[in-house]
């Protein structure tokens, strides 16, 4: 519990209506996009970097844990408080401060919804490519703090590739500005990229300078149906080695296909092991057309039974319907899902899929696999009902096995969701003790009182002793 005098002080800082303590409000700020939930003691919604700085100053003085939060669509429980304290809701800081059409940058506050930013710059003919599935319900601050990816990162890269500068409030309330609009900048350590992906454990990102590129004018999409998953994988390699870089190559396995078909009846084939959805984009219509036709040829040559290239915008949308239907279809099949995001070298995809299917068979729990085949980032989704302890045990077992497979194949635990609470116990297996030690030292240097999102990312005991996930 937080003392009334501190609540009063917080109210003085941001206004009474922006300090929430009712049980209803605490419930509403107790979760993210996973099934984890735990209430904070208070929710504070600042409106400026200065207010964030004052709140951090108070938290530092009083040693109160602070969990920065955007729209809480994360998939690793990074923004779920472990041991009470302050949830720092940054959604009110939602101003786009400047779109610089000459330098191709945008400066925006952390609470701007990513889709809103993408729309605003598109109106000026500019492009902000990172496209996490949660683009409509996630914020720039959250995207940067978790280094979000998305389908388009095969060609365009992930959030960190677009972060050029940050304003960050440190644990003690001091404000640091890193990077800037300049493209080249080697003055001092690259602290910008230290804060990107730090999941709120090193500082609170309040403002971002983001890189933009010219908006592609044309996009064409193809769907290819592969009886054999290994062929689909080979197809991906052939496309890329032919010097073609599509914007996206999305893969869905047979469990995923069957689940979508059961829920949505889209006439998807049920006797194939994989479907690829490939999109090519660019400035020049003729080149994009040539590229998508070349891709279609490669698909056919590598064993695709059926290749469909969208001719119109409507056909293009229809092809994406199946991809977009994945999450809802899975959710209709089981109340809870553990969405993993292991990342493996591209060439290891067939082995990874085969191994995960074997886990599903052995543990006897449904696992649907889909993901970004072009960059090796797979989303095995374990389907379960958390009200059934037997299923929960199976889910845990399968998750641990999937992590093991990713590491065995030279991959990593998380490609784009982050560690949060969810994957913390497995981090050391992935990165080793020296890496953990360095992370600990950085954490101590920047957050000596361990008040910034404690109990996340770095393994070890959590404050309060109760972790969110009991593995």
């Amino acid at each position: 519990m937080i003392e009334p005098r501190i609540i009063k002080e917080l109210q003085n800082l941001v206004g009474k209506q922006h300090v929430l303590t009712s049980p209803e409000d605490l419930v509403a700020y107790s979760y993210d996009g996973t099934f984890a939930e735990r209430r904070p003691d208070v929710v504070v919604s600042p409106n400026s970097t200065e207010q964030v700085s004052q709140i951090m100053g108070l938290a530092y003085r009083e040693e109160i844990p602070v969990v920065p939060r955007g729209m809480a669509s994360g998939l690793a429980a990074a923004s779920v408080p472990i041991n009470g304290g302050i949830v720092l809701n940054l959604c009110r800081m939602n101003r786009i401060l400047e779109i610089d059409e000459l330098n191709f940058t945008v400066t925006a506050e952390a609470g701007v919804v990513t889709q809103d930013l993408a729309d605003a710059v598109a109106r000026k003919g500019l492009f902000y490519p990172p496209d996490p599935s949660s683009i409509k319900q996630s914020t720039l601050g959250g995207n940067a703090a978790c280094n979000a990816g998305g389908p388009r990162c095969l060609k365009y890269g992930v959030t960190s590739d677009y972060v050029r500068g940050l304003t960050v409030v440190l644990a003690d309330g001091r404000v640091i500005k890193t990077g800037g609009k300049a493209i080249k900048n080697v003055t001092g350590y690259n602290l910008t990229q230290l804060f990107v992906g730090s999941e709120g454990t090193l500082g609170v990102i309040t403002e971002l300078i983001l890189k933009l590129i010219p908006l592609p004018k044309v996009a064409r999409t193809a769907k290819a149906v592969f009886p054999k998953l290994a062929d689909a994988s080979q197809c991906v390699n052939r496309i890329l080695t032919a010097g073609i870089t599509p914007a996206t190559i999305e893969l869905m396995d047979e469990t995923t296909i069957a689940t979508i078909e059961e829920a949505m009846h889209l006439n998807l084939p049920l006797d194939v092991e994989a479907i690829l959805i490939i999109e090519s984009d660019g400035m020049d219509e003729q080149r994009v057309n040539q590229e998508i036709e070349a891709i279609a040829d490669i698909c056919r040559a590598t064993g695709a039974r059926e290749v469909q290239v969208a001719r119109t915008e409507k056909e293009r949308n229809d092809l994406w319907v199946a991809r977009r239907a994945i999450s809802p279809s899975l959710a209709r099949r089981a109340p809870n899902k553990l969405g993993e995001d292991i990342s493996v070298p591209r060439s290891a995809i067939p082995d990874a899929v085969a191994a995960i299917k074997e886990i599903s068979r052995q543990v006897r729990i449904p696992i649907a696999i889909f993901g970004h085949a072009g960059d090796g980032n797979l989303h095995p989704n374990i389907l379960f009902d958390r009200r059934d302890p037997v299923q929960v045990e199976k889910m845990k077992k399968a998750a641990a096995e999937i992590f093991r497979v990713a590491l065995q194949l030279g991959g990593t635990l998380s490609g784009e969701h982050g560690v949060g609470s969810l994957k913390r116990p497995f981090v050391e297996q992935d990165v080793g003790p020296v890496f953990i030690d360095v992370m600990n030292q950085i954490k101590k240097a920047l957050d000596p009182k361990n008040i910034l999102n404690p109990g996340k990312v770095i393994p070890g005991p959590v404050p309060g002793g109760r972790d969110l996930f009991a593995w």
Binding site: D25, V27, Q137, A331, R387
Partner: protein
Amino acid sequence: MHSGKSAWDGVEGPTEEQVAYCIRCGLCLSVCPTYKESLRETESPRGRVALVAKAIEGELELTRNFKDHMYRCLACLACTHICPVGIKPAELCLEARYAIEQVQPTPLLKPLLFRGIFPRTGLLELLTKPVALYDRSGVRKVVNALGVTGVLPSQLRDMERMLPNRLPWRGTRHQLPDRVLARGERRAHVAYFLGCVQGVMMAEGCKATVEVLAENGCDVVIPKQVKCCGMPMVGYGFKDEARQMARHNIDLLLGLNVEAIITDCATCGSSLKEYPEWLENDPEYAERAKQFAAKVRDISEFLVELGIRPPAGQVGARVTYHDPCHLCRAQGIRSQPREVLRAAGVDLIEMKESDTCCGSAGTQLITHYHTSVGILERKMDNVAATEAEIIASGCPGCQMQLNLGVKRRGLDARVVHPSQLLAQAYRKKKSDE
């Protein structure tokens, strides 16, 4: 996980199955007007689902605060329609209100309204007389001229500004005949469902709808004994009273043996079509409710099915259309009102976010003034951008709210029901002849 008894243990209310599948993706936040206005999770669909879930798990009590959060939902259904999983947050809030009303009945005012006044249309009409008198007697003009409303608290002033420019002295029930005969070749025999708010506040709209039906070859019966569709009761947790209304209307209207039951109120239409769900556990009425609902049509929906007789006249005005939540999402009616407008010959300019709630949601201006006005302002930004001289919308609640929006902005625009423009086009033909 289940530490206690459900907050509405033993009564009809939201169940665990209705909330268990929420994956908390947060997509609903991107379309929720109250979330976008407040930027507060507690006023988002995902937040409300979490509150309902915790009440079911016995971890939240039915405090005043809890109730208020259930009542802050506009029931615009944007969340229900976008939810990939099929959770119905808006409906859950309405069901929670019903559950709360059973566990902790509200004293006095609400029961008086929903048991005493709303079921009696005559009484409702009587209550608006002082307002009509205020209007007719010239007092309104004097008040406006003196700027007295300017010194009233802003909410009261806005409630005054919400009223139509001229309230009918006699309710539409007394102005409309019992039966209107088809003009030209007879194509259908229909009943017109006279809604309460539409009937009391929007006489011109009602008359236009009946006129348009007749112009399209319909014999129209106008039963005066219809009762409130039941939506206000459902909105305030008085579902049993709403079911009473439904049974009455089913008996009355099915007895008329008409081909279709026409409403020009989006809200009435969505309730009438929902009667089968309200009465699914009523052995006597379940089947009849289905027969009834199968006949219900919004006026625009009906006209398009029938084929609109082209008027010779044209309304050459710049018009924008606002989609009422209860029409576009509750009934899936989006293109038909636009076809009606095009048939009237207007210059239709689409506004941005035409299907985003206007913030009316019945009584939000009274119960949650700041949110309601905030949502309205966003709507009016989009309206103003079209530079339309007429705003058309087939819902009296939306019309009143938009009317307020126009006055707050000082726009030179009027708010009408689409029927009024089509009727105008038909009348032009006559005057030209």
